[in-house]
Amino acid sequence: MTAGAVGESVRRVDIEAKVQGRRRYPQDFSLPGMLHAVVVWAGYPHARIRRIDPSEALAVPGVLAVLTHEDVPVNEYGINIYDQPVLASDKVRWLGDRVAVVVAETLRAAERARDLVRVDYEELPIVDDPLEAMRPEATLVHEDRRSNLLKHIYVRRGNVEEGFAAADVIVEGTYHTPFVEHAYLQPEAGLAYIDDEGRVTVICAAQWPHDDLRQIAHALALPLEQVREVVPAVGGAFGGREDISVQILVALAAWRLRRPVKMVWSREESIRGHGKRHPFHMRHRWGATKEGRLTAVEIEAVLDAGAYASTSVPVLENAVSFLAGPYAVPHARIDGYAVYTNNAVTMAMRGFGATQPPVGYELQMDRLAEALGMDPVEIRMRNLLEPGSIAVTGNRMPAVTSARETLRAAALAAGWREEPQGWRRPGASILRASHLRRGIGVACAYKNVGYSFGFDDRSTAIVELALASDGSIQSALVRCAAVEVGQGVTTVLAQLAAQTLGLEVSRVRVALTDTAATPSAGSSSASRHVFMSGNAVVKACRQALEKRDAALREESGATRIVAEATFRGHDVRRTTAYDIVDGHCEPHISYSFGTQIAIVEVDIETGAVQVDRLIAATNAGTPVNPRLCLGQVAGGVHMGVGYALMEEFIQQKGQVRTARLSEYHIPTVADMPRELESIFTEVPDPDGPYGATGLGETPTLPTAPAILNAIHDATGAWITELPATPERVWRALRGVPAQPAAPARRPCP
């Protein structure tokens, strides 16, 4: 009866259109009378603007307008705080600042005119290193602030001095992670027009369209009702579409000129114009007893926040809660700092502050194992959080805490054996050639599901049932603005509705995201839609069934039933902000856990690393659609492999050095592990819909540290700075320091 319900790998609802090239992405839309708009980008990473002269540009035939800050009603936006100018007025703070928008009848005219907009700059000193930026004498990125420190967050638990005194062994390490580019295949694009109800309407890619609306309406000084966003197919997001890109610019142009306006960023503009994953500078000091039990951790992390706040504060909040890993530790001192610089804005990217910490905590774990002569699985088993454990932030871990199950599943699959004296790794395998070394590495990680630290996370769904005369359900329509960014949420919500309504999934339709027709579901981020929007859809379906039953009892003859429900994360677990004294809090609504084991081959002559085999054990609760879940794991591992081995967005003195995909490398099919084995541990989340929970981000987290630990196992070298490029590995193997061209790293303050 319920074909396609929970647990079945039903086909994605959008797949037939996508294989035929019929599914439209933002750049595929056009309208009659449409104008073309291009951005005039900041000429310098840090400079004062003396004057903007558009006269030559305006003289180009076909050019209708050169919009500057003077044309923006309220010249500010920002996802957390309004600290970014829509169009820069007095100052530019990074190369991604937008100074003007040229609007013309043709793209060619707009592009020609862009080069003729004269901007007179006074260059300012550049702050490009967050550690330098923290010094009192540093140049200020924002002159209205007393320092470049955006936020300091800390946790104090127990007494670390006591903890270190009780330790038999102490290991220390510093770790550095780079800026990372989202590199979704579809560059930013948008088409704005005034719809038939007088609303300025933007067709674009987004992750939380209702939050975009807030920012568009604010900048244009319009009531929310007069703004609308429609989200068609989205070519990947990964956090990079949480922040505004083209939305306000095209809306502004369409509103001013009363004609449709389209803007499409080139790949270079995309790489320049949207934020990146935060680089972390981490310093760790961990103590453990000779039995391998953690006694104390002391951790400092400095995050490069780039030129504007974006979501740096919540990323830092997340990071501080994860820096000690999924381990129980009685004494902890953890400090995290987010610092403004003139580098690229840093923002959400798959993991949201949970991706960088494992590069530190999982190498620390292996260093402890090595110092104690313990098996890396065994030492983790002795310290992992379990349901009821007290986390570093003082909260009690919930029933879905499944770190142990994921580690056990991955270890068994990789050939580990559980013996009376503990876990024992598999023996060494045979080498293919004398210049190759094989190694095996394990890493665990975890991530929150849903928005954290007191945020009132919620999702709303409307379900409309069409009834036959006997009251049976013919079909259902789900309205819920959970953006399909490729992850498959549309299909999963249809399955959850089908399961709840007892209907075949083919009879459930999920409406396209349109703020005029679908209620806010919150963001397609934080691995949250299965949990948050899934719960909202199930709740709305149950209410619809009750209404239907009531209608039947009353013999009302109703043929249409509508129910709306909002699911609040706080109904499951009321999260709280960091306590001002000790940082204790209830950080997260729910959690996802994963363990990965990498088997790598290192060429000791070239430093090249090939991942031969990767085992990924992930907990998604009860998977709603196992095949879509596998897609998330495989895609997450792809990003993890890139993070580990090749991806690094490079800036020098604020200038982008990796401006194209020929310079910023993401893994091709030839770079991926030859063998990927995915295991779902299926520890249900009692708070998720039918036991399911999110997993969009967790599979990215353990990949890089598992590979780094495998490189160490193969060669004895610790690679502590990502990515582990052939050059870095080669140098580490020979003890040759990096060339001075690479910026020198200093210890954390």
Partner: protein, 166 residues
């Protein structure tokens, strides 16, 4: 005509005539002049493969070919993959193996795979991985794509054998 050039070509089996600027790429002509938006722009400098099409059966990045170059030539895009009898075996295999997520790389990936299978009906997995390395995907991790191409190759060989016997 504002310096535009008349181009006559066969696109997806249909004779087509259009005007283009000498500087316009084939990608721009397909998308902006002919409205064939199935072919995607990912970088416009030949690094991502999203705009892959077949030019006289050969795999090209349409961003690196000028529109005027296809005068008198045959172009195949994603819109031309399905036949009167339904989807191309590659399209069907991509569906059956869930070989896409966001789908933006899919048209290019399909055309690249078709170029391979048209010339090599029995490629090894290694050969498929090597051949598709010019097409980037940020969502799937590629594994499902490789499986889909292997499966499509099997189906196409079966169809070809059935055809030969019939």
């Amino acid at each position: 005509m504002d310096g535009k050039v008349r181009v006559q070509a066969t696109i997806n089996g249909q004779p087509v005539e259009f005007l283009c600027e000498p500087r316009q790429s084939l990608l721009e002509c397909l998308r902006d002049v002919l409205g064939l938006t199935g072919t995607k722009e990912g970088c416009s400098d030949g690094n991502c493969g999203a705009c892959s099409v077949l030019l006289n059966g050969r795999l090209v990045n349409s961003c690196l070919v000028l529109g005027v170059e296809v005068d008198g030539q045959e172009v195949t895009t994603v819109e031309g993959l399905a036949g009167p009898d339904g989807l191309h075996p590659l399209q069907q295999a991509f569906i059956d193996h869930a070989a896409l997520q966001c789908g933006y790389c899919t048209p290019g990936m399909l055309l690249a795979a078709k170029a391979l299978l048209d010339r090599e009906p029995e490629p090894s997995e290694e050969r498929i991985r090597q051949w598709l390395a010019g097409n980037l995907c940020r969502c799937t991790g590629y594994d499902r794509i490789v499986r889909a191409v292997q499966d499509a190759a099997r189906r196409m060989r079966r169809e070809a054998d059935a055809h030969a016997e019939g």
